[in-house]
């Protein structure tokens, strides 16, 4: 890992730390209040705030996890070139963004 990847990985980790806490707090709130799926969707649909919150979360997690995957590949797959590791982890990050964007769209749009 070079200094650029380091700054992005630790930066996204720092960004995710509060997001994870809010996410957990919301889960607790929703279950304690006994909210139904319809109640939750009623609050998230059309909400720019929740769209931004989970949109940023998805992006940060995709960047963070793909850099992490790259590190694991470099260390654990003998003979793998760093270009190949970069390619695989970028593809993995793209999949995470796609899956995450789909999930965010499902709760915010429509």
């Amino acid at each position: 890992m070079n200094v650029r990847l380091y700054v992005w990985q630790r930066g996204t980790a720092a960004l995710m730390a509060p997001l994870v806490l809010v996410h957990l707090a919301v889960i607790f709130y929703a279950t304690r209040q006994g909210l139904t799926a319809a109640d939750i969707l009623g609050r998230t649909r059309g909400s720019i705030t929740w769209g931004l919150f989970y949109g940023v979360f998805v992006l940060a997690a995709a960047i963070h996890a793909s850099i992490g995957l790259r590190n694991i590949l470099v260390e654990w797959v003998p003979g793998l070139r760093s270009r190949a590791a970069a390619l695989i982890s970028t593809a993995f990050g793209a999949v995470l963004v796609a899956l995450g964007a789909r999930a965010v769209a499902a709760v915010v749009l429509g």
């Binding site: 990847l5 590190n71 654990w76």
Partner: protein
């Protein structure tokens, strides 16, 4: 049995190169016996072809490191009584370095990485300038002092899993050295050094799992030094002083 009444030690020692094997020797047990004493006994009395390195015998030169019962240690300051399992001792060459023969490893990669990390002082003054006084109580000098007693033994390098997994990784000793120089206000090579340790095999490859610190016979803390380099390089990168 020896005059001390203790049973002999059963000592397995690595013989040969990378494809060698352990061979077992019987060595009389003595009081205050070091692992280096045991290895020396084998060479002097049992097999003169045994190869190993040592020089100072008092923990200063850093040449006697070996793997003792699975852990990297400086053998001249390691008492058998502290590490033997029963009466058994296994002594092998250091990990993470090519074996030359028996207990001697090729230390070149270790020292080449020391160079790659720019672990060399770059003078900012000439012999004609006045000597610059450095106060020992400044923060930077204290940071440098904390890491400066390295004896280049390679124990941390052998203990580090990241060295094993990532052949480009500069390793704890070279990075610790770079950190002491990064805190030397007389040094003129700071940007080049930060650039060197911010590359692919540099300080950011370290996972902070502290094996180096755990095993360093000088009780240095390379993990902390590397964390310092991560901070310095990240700041220099964000300021645009170095590139990725």
């Amino acid at each position: 049995m020896t005059p001390s009444g203790k049973p002999d030690l059963s000592v397995s020692i690595w013989r040969g190169g990378a494809d060698g094997a352990y061979r077992t020797y019987s060595v009389p047990s003595r009081d205050s016996q070091t692992v280096l004493d045991v290895v020396t006994y084998v060479q002097r009395h049992l097999d003169p072809t045994l190869s190993y390195r040592f020089a100072c015998r008092v923990g200063m030169c850093g040449s006697c490191a070996m793997t003792v019962n699975g852990r990297p240690r400086w053998t001249c300051r390691t008492h058998v009584s502290r590490v033997a399992k029963g009466d058994k001792l296994t002594v092998g060459p250091l990990e993470n370095l090519p074996v030359v023969k028996d207990l001697a490893t090729d230390m070149r990669p270790f020292f080449e990485k020391w160079q790659d990390a720019k672990g060399v002082f770059e003078p900012s003054k000439t012999r004609d300038d006045a000597i610059e006084p450095i106060r020992p109580d400044t923060r930077q000098r204290q940071l440098a002092d904390a890491g400066v007693e390295c004896i280049n033994c390679g124990v941390c390098y052998a203990a580090c899993d990241t060295v094993k997994w990532n052949t480009d990784y500069l390793g704890p000793a070279a990075l610790n050295r770079a950190w002491t120089l990064a805190n030397d206000v007389r040094d003129a090579g700071q940007t080049e050094r930060l650039q060197a340790v911010a590359s692919g095999g540099g300080c950011h490859a370290c996972h902070s799992h502290q094996s180096c610190q755990e095993h360093c016979p000088q009780t240095l803390n390379p993990t902390a030094s590397i964390a310092g380099l991560k901070r310095l390089t990240a700041l220099a990168y964000l300021r645009g002083e170095i590139e990725a």
